[in-house]
Symmetry: C2
């Protein structure tokens, strides 16, 4: 599903260069559940942005479902993103003037789904993350953890083939975190590939494989022993 | 230092009412180190906003250092906030067009400190949170955890008497979290009162007292046994 080879991402600031990704190579098969860990600033969100077709690498190759991403034009990237990828951003990125249910419906606007079905599916997704009673609240009327859960509901409403989640439980208490991880496990069992960034070992244990980054490179890549 | 009695905060949405705080009473003495815990949506950030003079309660009393806050005008509240309180917001709230060091200097603009000393103190605060090499980056050139640390540096630059920190380590890996908690312990030993919201038991153990909220009320309030 995902093949990246020698991926590099350089930021230039004046005459300084920062290699946020410094040669990352890995393959993720369809249906895997992968956790990405590493210190603050090690390149996790940068890697997720490249995987999510939100950012292009400085060099290296990226194939998503056998399609070479590196050569894609913006229009093509947008199409791939909307149809195949669900993304939970580290800073949620909700639209402040729309309610929870309107935010969750957004990915369906690109599809052929009509308004009544969009609304019903968005309400169902909000139910799945425990927010049935907050559907008409706007982001500034929601707690931090509630905003994060709206972002999660939005990311899964299209039942994407690939879910990229950057710290999806960072703002959640342990009980709510477990509910969200059980939801991801269920979607993964139904075929969705899950790649999630986390700092918490308790969250990483839900994954079948843990990749650790350090200074823009892979430090280790370990699969769980099968039971 | 802090006395709140029967604090309530109601939000009205159409004809629905939501009591985010539903009768909270507590006292915190100067120099304490308190952790506030509770499920997502239980009222923690709402309580912090009232303690930080950013929001007024619907009813109930709040005395900060023996001054009755409930009756204050906005100008007076702003003066108290700037001089006595440091605040780390759950969503960081950095100014996007300013660099890290400019963001950290902001609280000193209200004081009599001149520009060269402001710059030197802001650089020192950024050093204390491990960001000496990111001082001229703007927020969108920083990782999530780096943005959080800029917010922390900004909150302590005035050496406020009261530090209110809402999930200050939420975006940080465990090593960086420990460094930040050691910094808070040091400032607390120097006399700063610390009230921090956290979901993580490992972070709460740094505090001498843990207050748990549920549905806008205090569920429990326990002090650590002294050693
Ligand atoms: N402006 C508002 N209008 C309506 N309801 C609000 C508003 N702000 C907050 N709420 C509601 O008040 C409740 C408490 O919110 P608060 O932000 O204090 O929770 P919290 O304990 O900080 O949660 P978290 O751990 O998720 O950050 C939530 O259920 C939220 O939906
Ligand atoms: N636009 C940019 N310009 C310059 N440097 C950048 C930019 N974006 C990110 N960086 C730097 O690249 C590095 C990696 O950032 P990234 O956001 O990928 O880290 P991360 O592993 O997600 O960290 P965290 O755990 O704190 O979220 C950081 O050191 C950051 O300062
Ligand atoms: Mg990140
Ligand atoms: Mg909160």
């Amino acid at each position: 599903m995902i093949k990246i080879r020698d991926l590099k991402k350089r930021y230039k600031m004046g005459d300084q260069e920062l290699w946020a990704l410094d040669g990352v190579s890995l393959e993720i098969a369809g249906g895997e559940f992968v956790a990405i860990m590493g210190a603050s600033g090690s390149g996790k969100s940068t890697l997720m942005n490249v995987l999510g077709c939100l950012d292009s690498p400085t060099s290296g190759d990226y194939e998503l479902e056998d399609a070479a991403i590196s050569g894609c034009k913006d229009v093509e990237l947008a199409r791939i993103r909307n149809r195949s990828i669900g993304f939970v951003f580290q800073s949620f990125n909700l639209l402040p003037r729309m309610t929870a249910v309107e935010n969750v419906e957004l990915p369906l606007l690109y599809s052929q789904v009509r308004a009544p079905e969009r609304r019903q599916r968005a309400l169902a997704a909000l139910g799945e993350v425990g927010l049935a009673e907050r559907v008409h609240h706007r982001p500034n009327q929601l707690s931090g953890g509630q905003q994060q859960r709206v972002a999660i509901a939005r990311s899964i409403i299209n039942r994407p083939r690939l879910l990229l989640a950057d710290e999806p439980t960072g703002a959640l208490d342990s009980k709510t975190s477990e509910e969200i991880m059980e939801l991801f496990l269920k979607l993964n069992a139904e075929g969705m590939t899950v790649v999630l960034v986390t700092h918490e070992p308790d969250i990483a244990t839900y994954a079948g494989r843990v990749i650790r980054l350090r200074d823009g490179r892979i430090l280790s890549d370990e699969r769980k022993k099968s039971r």
